[in-house]
Symmetry: C2
DNA sequence: TAGATTGTTAATCGATTAACAATC
DNA sequence: TAGATTGTTAATCGATTAACAATC
């Protein structure tokens, strides 16, 4: 309800502030300034201030923000206090990596169940999360009113798994496969574009190399 | 050298175009228009045209682009023809997931070696990539002139692993751990901010929910 | 030719950064 | 008080989208 018009970019940064604030020593100073946060995270201080102003009561000039208040405000805003449930499809390496990523709980995401087609995996658990056969997916999502699906199946299986999620009434899909999914309107697909990240990284590297090599000319 | 001023966002999209173009049937039509690509990938057609204009000789009005030429141009531009070498630190679930992600080769990235501290893992291989003890890291990077490091260690080990990469002469670090790394100037850190993605996803979901619930009021 | 499609120029939009007044 | 820090208003920057002429 508080979700007025906080830009996406701010949302992306909030977890970073939170992680930094939590990493500070408990017995350290009670206050922290936007300037210090910005320096630690290699950001612009005005940006930090602007972000924080959107979700918190605000700090005091010369003193800064109360660290614990800030942590509480960010967590509340990101909805880390009331946990969301999700299911995961594809218990391969990537799927297992996400299942064992304890931090998701901290972020308010709890993975209720995982699904796979491999009979060898079905019935086992990863980090206490049971792995179930895919044909139970739609039914379980509906019964438990789960709205988030995490897709970590191999490329070829992605669309079928996606369809099953949609059938189960999923509203948002976090897609780690490199496939462009076809979904009915109204369902949000969030692609984790690793190839894209790699391309940007390579670009920066080659610019650096060009500069380095030009010296020799 | 061709790297004039192609924006980052274009770089992120190029792999998507490429994947789509490659997914088309070999024996299908030889030409494809920006309009069709845009529709398939849920993008704006002018944007696609603009992106393609930057890296390709261009298409012909009414006809479109030659599919195979476009594939060749994108691959060349992204440097997928001359492969870059990388090392990976942390052969846990996420690390193994990336190691078994065959697609990286397609993207021009080859992981030469992986490193871990766990004696049980050292000496084994994942998808033909050997896992070596971390103390060999710096030396190997330097000897093989490797400039990309992929960081998939647990949170607490991240900074130490990062320092080892820097010592080995790495120029870019692709960081999958949620830690803010401290690196000397001139080294590029690329954070894969999963918590951020999750936050944006949750945001969209809660906006949706608010709207849905308002109907009941 | 007519209509689809390209590529470019201009307008818009959103996000970041700079400048500055307010305040403790 | 003086100086550090906040929050806001305006300027800048970069990316997307709209409008349109060129062309096959």
């Amino acid at each position: 309800m508080e979700t007025k018009s906080v830009p996406s970019q701010t949302f992306r940064r909030l977890p970073q502030y939170l992680a930094y604030l939590k990493s500070l020593p408990q017995d350290g100073p009670a206050n922290i300034s936007a300037t210090v946060i910005a320096q630690a995270l290699d950001m612009n201080d005005v940006q930090v201030r602007k972000d924080l102003a959107m979700i918190s009561d605000g700090g005091r000039p010369k003193i800064g923000y109360v660290r614990t208040d800030l942590i509480r405000d960010i967590e509340r805003f990101l909805g880390y206090d009331d946990t969301r449930s999700a299911v995961l499809v594809g218990a391969g390496n990537l799927g297992r990596a996400l299942l064992s990523y304890e931090r998701f709980e901290e972020y308010g995401l709890s993975i209720a169940a995982a699904f796979d087609t491999d009979p060898a995996l079905i019935g086992t658990t990863v980090h206490k999360t049971p792995i179930l056969p895919v044909n139970k997916l739609a039914d379980l999502c509906r019964r438990l009113k789960i709205h988030i699906g995490i897709l970590t199946v191999p490329d070829v299986a992605a669309q079928a798994a996606c369809d099953a999620l949609v059938e189960g009434g999923i509203l948002a899909i976090w897609n780690f496969s490199p496939t462009q999914l076809r979904v009915p309107g109204g369902i949000l697909v969030f692609n984790e574009n690793m190839a894209g990240s790699l391309a940007v990284l390579s670009k920066h590297l080659s610019i650096r190399f060009c500069r380095a090599e030009r010296r020799d000319v």
